[in-house]
Symmetry: C2
């Protein structure tokens, strides 16, 4: 049984404020994750969500500066604007041209991107899946796909084959993976150790059969299939993968771990992963499968 | 015994955020007051404090706009900048040139000033003290003094005599009180029904005798003496007034009621005065008499 969290200070004028900016943002799970983390560590912090219109991302970074926010998470559509507006960037944020987490370093605002490290932690720490030396196929080359491509390369993947309808984004994602990166096609899936779906295809949890991002006949035992979607917990892709004997992993672990990295950036502490995962699981259990979230 | 507040929704991405801006702001009682009010009404709102440096008040108003804050309280030194930065002003805010509360009216940010109405409510509603037709002496002509001068005039005081070392500010405060306003001197205290201290003099709660803003020999029974200070609860002035048979009222009621007016501006609801007063009393009971607050 989970233990009750330690007593949390009541909210006061001394409370530090962190927040997520994005639009739409009202279904974000970040407040659930981060408030659970602050409570578990008995930190006098609170985490809110701000609906910031497209085109005002840079102004929201300036608002962080003026109001003295302790930390900021950045989601769609502001990750590029945040990258441009901060005073400095971590290597990963600079490489991706996208910032999902802003932290303070003295008077400077520093932009980071925790999606890739969160993805790796979810696989390696939570699932015991090795990445180093493995052949990986990545479906999709959008923002999440690029973050995963780079993270797989940094984690020592032998190969990162990017499969994407548009060749330009595919080539850019493959380049982020380093020397093991290349553009490929669906035929590469059969030889892969690890298949990552970073497209929205195959989200359907039930009802009519949704379009899948790949032919499940290409999958088999000894493969790990990761779907970055976490709601529903079992997508049509994961169901198909498991029916072929593959191991299926959804995106919930990545969601938790990217938030955990943000927590550590802001507070300097290791994140209470268990408390965060439990809080988000409770929250998701209360949502209909079709609810949007981010 | 106070009843436990109704269950409050857990903080989520749908939670509305209100806040106070100022510097220094870390001892502000506004988070205590407003979070107690939101909790008592089971509203999905949270109230924080942002330390905003002098000179950046207008930027903080812009931050309210960008982040979609549901409400803003403004304290020193930003009340003038907030007055200039909002899209529209209530009559009282325009007259005072100072805004302590910003609320939304559609896409516009409207500046209000709730100090005067809060002062009147504290006297009339909480203490049963009549203002209409009474002769009032006001000591001090700073921001709080001006708000009180105008409020006394609006509430129908027969006379509002402003006593202040600098004649220019005294004349401006007297003008705000309307036709009953005039500049006077300490000798006017003896004939007053109501004496309001809006200076910081006479705060001392114990120890060495602090300088008083008036000679207590001028006070007597049938007078009401209000000190806008609320911490300590009994100032040297109030102690002297009571020893002369006068009724003493401290500034806690004004603090609660100005926040109550802000709550109503933001939420459209009557404020839970009792819950707010109880929360701030509990908070103050835990503070040393010398703690700063605002």
């Amino acid at each position: 049984m989970p233990q009750p969290p330690p007593a949390r200070p009541p909210l006061s004028a001394a409370t530090q404020v962190a927040a997520v900016i994005g639009t739409p943002v009202r279904h974000s799970l970040s407040p659930t994750l981060l408030n659970a983390a602050f409570a578990a560590e008995a930190l006098d912090w609170v985490y809110a969500a701000f609906e910031v219109p497209d085109g005002r991302g840079a102004d929201a970074i300036e608002a962080m500066r003026v109001l003295g926010l302790g930390g900021l998470s950045v989601t769609m559509p502001h990750k590029g604007a945040a990258h441009d507006a901060v005073d400095a960037r971590t290597d990963v944020a600079a490489a991706l041209g996208a910032v999902n987490c802003v932290f303070r370093d003295g008077d400077r605002l520093v932009g980071d991107n925790t999606d890739g490290p969160g993805f790796v932690d979810a696989l390696v720490r939570d699932e015991g899946v090795a990445i180093s030396g493995r052949r990986c196929v990545l479906l999709g080359a959008g923002g999440a796909g690029r973050a995963v491509a780079r993270a797989l390369g940094v984690a020592g993947a032998a190969e990162v084959v990017v499969v994407n309808r548009s060749p330009g984004p595919a080539a850019r994602a493959a380049a982020l993976a380093g020397s093991g990166g290349r553009v490929g096609g669906p035929g590469d899936v059969r030889a892969a150790d690890l298949v990552v779906n970073a497209t929205p295809l195959g989200m359907g949890g039930g009802g009519r059969a949704p379009a899948l991002p790949l032919d499940p006949a290409l999958l088999g035992p000894d493969q790990v299939v990761v779907d970055l979607v976490y709601h529903p917990a079992e997508t049509a892709l994961l169901r198909a993968a498991r029916s072929r004997g593959a191991t299926g992993v959804n995106g919930l672990g990545m969601l938790v771990h990217q938030a955990a990295h943000a927590f550590t950036r802001w507070t300097g502490r290791a994140a209470p992963i268990g408390a965060m995962a439990a809080a988000v699981a409770t929250e998701l259990a209360g949502r209909a499968p079709s609810d949007g979230d981010s």
